[in-house]
């Protein structure tokens, strides 16, 4: 942990993510407004950042076309965007670890079938699938989470499969089997805890990736639906007013890029810190 924070990439990633998560969780504390409330639209719309409206309310990042405070929407949007990212990655990791562990520890037809499934899912064009699913069913936040989660587990499954197979051949596992531990116990208590490092790295990168994809879907109008703010649909709504009110699209874009950069750097730093003996400079593959 100390090594992680001494690495400037790890420190930067951790600090940025901590701040963003804190703002998202404590949204009512860092902003007084309501993300969807619309006041007097004509008098309060498209106010520049750092201005005060007729009611005396201060808008640090300005207002959008409905006179809603961009900072407030940014903070509440962080709840949605980060929530979608984290939940989607939790789903992918659960599925991926389960598939990878089973395929790695139970050889034979189970393993062949699961690996075949993984390869097939990996070859599916993910965005086309997302597009289909999101467009065909009523777009909603829950659907985005499920779809992102269920299309992102293959990378984790491959990683875990490789780790589990390598670990299963190590002497301490033979020892555990020799003293009569049941297979499931060996898998859960001895193998999996040792196979989790690459999963953590993949998760860090996967959150960034999922947030980006959610933003893309919301941008096309297929993700989180307005008036609920998410960074993607905030960028989409700022697109038409790029000239007159560039802050509407810029604020969520900057937030999005910062969070994804933080996830990427943190992932890089974790993979270096956890395995100092075999330092590889290859950036780890994201869960995608």
């Amino acid at each position: 942990m100390k090594r992680l924070l001494r690495d400037y990439r790890g420190a930067f990633g951790a600090v940025v993510l901590a701040i963003v998560f804190a703002c998202a969780l404590g949204a009512p504390l860092v902003t007084g407004g309501d993300p969807t409330a619309q006041g007097d639209i004509v008098a309060t719309r498209f106010l520049a950042p750092l201005s005060t409206d007729v009611n005396g309310t201060f808008h640090p990042l300005g207002t959008d076309r409905f006179g809603r405070d961009v900072w407030t929407r940014l903070v509440y949007g962080a709840r949605v965007s980060l929530g979608v990212g984290v939940l989607a990655v939790l789903i992918s990791i659960t599925v991926g670890v389960a598939v990878g562990a089973l395929a790695g520890y139970w050889r034979g037809s189970v393993s062949v079938a699961l690996l075949g499934l993984t390869d097939f899912a990996l070859a599916l064009p993910r965005v086309v699938l997302l597009l289909l699913l999101a467009a065909l069913w009523q777009p909603s936040t829950a659907l985005v989470v499920i779809v992102l989660g269920l299309t992102g587990w293959m990378g984790v499954a491959r990683l875990v499969h490789g780790e589990v197979r390598a670990l299963a051949a190590r002497p301490f596992i033979e020892g555990a089997v020799a003293i009569g531990a049941r297979r499931l116990r060996v898998l859960a208590r001895h193998i999996l805890p040792n196979a989790l490092t690459p999963v953590i790295v993949a998760a860090a990168l996967g959150i960034g990736n999922a947030i980006t994809l959610e933003a893309g879907l919301s941008f096309l109008g297929l993700g989180v639906q307005p008036p609920t703010p998410s960074w993607g649909n905030m960028i989409a709504s700022g697109r038409d007013v790029l000239v007159n009110a560039p802050w509407v699209a810029t604020a969520p874009s900057v937030a999005l890029v910062l969070v994804v950069v933080a996830c990427t750097l943190l992932g890089d730093a974790v993979s270096d810190a956890m395995e100092p003996s075999a330092v590889s400079h290859q950036p780890a593959a994201p869960v995608s």
Binding site: A123, L124, T212, Q282
Partner: protein
Amino acid sequence: MLTRLAARALAGFGVVAGVVTLTFFLLRLAPGDPVEHLLGPAASADQVAAQRHALDLDRSIPVQYTAWVSRFVRGDWGISIAKGRPVRTVLGDAWPATVRLVGLSLLLSYLLGIAIGAVQAQRRGSRTDTTLSVITVTLFAVPGFCLGLMLVMVFTYWVRVLPAFGAAGLDADYLTGWGRVIDGLRHLALPLATLTLIGVGGSARFVRGAMIDLAAQPFITTAHAKGLSPFQVATRHVLRNALTPVVTLLGLSLPALFSGAVLVEAVFAWPGVGRVLVEAVQARDYPVVMAATTVSAVLVVAGNLLADALAAWLDPRLR
């Protein structure tokens, strides 16, 4: 080698068949129907039933599926329900635009990425390396549509030098010769820059990592020891070996690139397959969605196969 490629091709065919089947059933099982979009809410039940019968949508799903497959294989891709034009024409008009965009950006982003990654690996730890790292990780993190919007803001609205929409200007039909080429290039500039910059972020990071890992290998020390110039070692020994994983990555990045193209095409109103697909999905235009998905699945699988073959050609150990 040939048997391995044949096995991969067979597996690839399985993937395409799977994608097509999955898409077909997802489309049919999802709520919503092209007839609703075609006739509107005012249509009577009889009209809807007649239209459904005319489009063969009243038959059972497996029957529709076999009928579709047999027609598709024979080259009859059907007629777009929403547009009334043959699907082959709709896609035929759209593919060149996407291939031009995706192909060029693939080429540019890997050439630039290899160059940047190689420079970084050579000057590891220097200020140049750090600066380039900051730039590449940021590019890697920016979603395509975000970067596209930023470029539009700068080059179309502030500097006012490049057009932001479409593949040709309104007056393109009246231009001849060079004027027309330049008009096309000006329209290509922003979407191409967007896709390329994002690709550069990923490929440069990867090449840098691969080259640094290789530089620690004993055979590189040997190459240095026998008196080769650093430039020779870097190009002939390190880069040559670093290219194998890069080529594999190139194949794997094809689906991502097409996905990225879908969003970038939406931002720039680029008349490519991504836009056709998005529109077709929203209109439940079954024949167009099916054909577009099939063709993109085939292209992605073919790209992966090509990358495999290329990697084997570069690295004799893989043959």
